[in-house]
């Protein structure tokens, strides 16, 4: 039992790391990775919602009729998103403003519904918790990695502090929309090269 829980947890960190292995939920990945700070904030919000919705769906899996399960999942996810939204508005207001509509949009992030459908609805509470935590942390790591590249190249800073000397010319392309697509595409390419043997 203990072994399988560890497996559920660690698969999210490498073998099925979103969004590189599971190409789902790309919108927030592209939108919030302008700075490392935004990426971590978004990642933490997603971890909370993913763990919460996985655990709740798994608790209710015997009660939810399979015909209306998708609607039930959406309500569960939306509840947790609303909780996160209100918490962020109360305690981290500047971050809340920066992430803007991408916090309510966590509702339609395919990762959440995907995990509820594919994992939590079929498994017990503890594996579902591990699965949610693992994938959530994996998602945060990917976001942070992408944000690190874009922030260092695009504005010459890392988590708000200057990395290069004053003579550094920021590579503006990276923090704008086109840079996001190209950067994610190239990272996917790197992951494919490492992964496929």
């Amino acid at each position: 039992m203990a072994k399988s829980v560890t497996q559920e947890f660690t698969k999210g960190l490498w073998a099925e790391i979103p969004p590189f292995r599971l190409v789902l939920g790309l919108c927030p990945v592209l939108a919030v990775t302008k700075t490392v700070e935004n990426a971590i904030g978004m990642g933490v919000a997603v971890i909370f919602v993913l763990v919460g919705s996985n655990v709740l769906v798994s608790m209710l899996r015997k009660i939810i009729p399979s015909k209306v399960r998708i609607a039930c999942f959406i309500i569960v996810v939306a509840t947790f998103v609303t909780v996160v939204e209100l918490l962020m508005q109360a305690y981290t207001y500047p971050l809340f403003l920066k992430l803007g509509i991408f916090i309510p949009l966590i509702v339609v992030n395919c990762i959440l519904l995907g995990r509820a459908e594919a994992f939590a609805y079929k498994n017990g509470i503890i594996p579902s918790f591990a699965d949610g935590l693992g994938l959530g942390i994996g998602f945060t790591m990917s976001l942070t990695a992408l944000a690190a590249i874009r922030e260092v190249l695009g504005s010459g800073t890392f988590y708000g502090t200057q990395v290069f000397g004053p003579s550094f010319q920021p590579f503006n392309f990276m923090v704008e929309a086109p840079g996001a697509f190209v950067c994610l595409g190239l990272m996917l390419c790197v992951m494919n090269t490492i992964g496929k043997k």
Partner: protein
């Protein structure tokens, strides 16, 4: 009138929802491999988004604001959109089977298309009037369709090219989207 035209242009080109606001990327990459599916998806999104924009605006103004329930916005919008999509699907199946055959499989996917919920939230955030809300919903969805169809055209050509193995499929798709986005970036000069 001129204001509405400007708003529409800014929604279609300058603030293009796919390439500039990063919304709706899952169907963008998922349905752009063939021209036919791209056209079907684009039409379905335009159809649903205009309806959803109008209905969520009415929900916000006459239910949520009236009773001070703004904190339930996310939850009520997603339910309204899900119900609307289901309703549209049943209605089309019954009364316009030809259109249903064209849009059919794309309709259920729209519920989890973040462009739809995103535009509804933008409409509320920007405090649009009802007419402006309709114009912006149409503009954003037309922009979505434009980008999707352009991208599908490029992607059909990529199929014929020899792409290095690690770059294949999604990876080269994203790089292409980046270049397309760079082209749309030029419209920012118009603003």
């Amino acid at each position: 009138m001129g204001d509405y035209v400007l708003l529409a242009i800014s929604c279609i080109l300058i603030n293009n929802i796919l390439l500039m606001q990063y919304l709706g990327n899952c169907p963008f990459l998922g349905t752009s491999k063939k021209m036919e599916t791209a056209v079907g998806m684009a039409m379905a999104v335009i159809f649903v988004l205009v309806l959803a924009g109008a209905i969520t605006w009415l929900t916000e103004m006459f239910i949520l604001r009236k009773f001070g329930l703004e904190y339930l916005r996310t939850m009520s919008f997603i339910l309204v959109i899900a119900a609307l999509v289901q309703f549209v699907e049943m209605f089309l199946k019954k009364s316009i089977p030809a259109l249903y055959a064209g849009l059919g499989i794309f309709l259920p996917l729209i519920t989890t298309n973040c462009a739809v919920l995103g535009v509804c939230l933008i409409n509320i955030k920007e405090e649009y009037t009802f007419i402006e809300c309709l114009v912006s919903s149409f503009g954003y969805s037309a922009g979505f369709g434009l980008a999707l169809i352009l991208f599908a055209g490029v992607r059909e050509r990529i199929l014929l090219a020899r792409v290095p193995k690690p770059l294949q499929d999604t990876s080269i798709g994203l790089v292409t989207a980046g270049l397309l986005s760079l082209a749309f970036f030029a419209f920012k000069g118009m603003a």
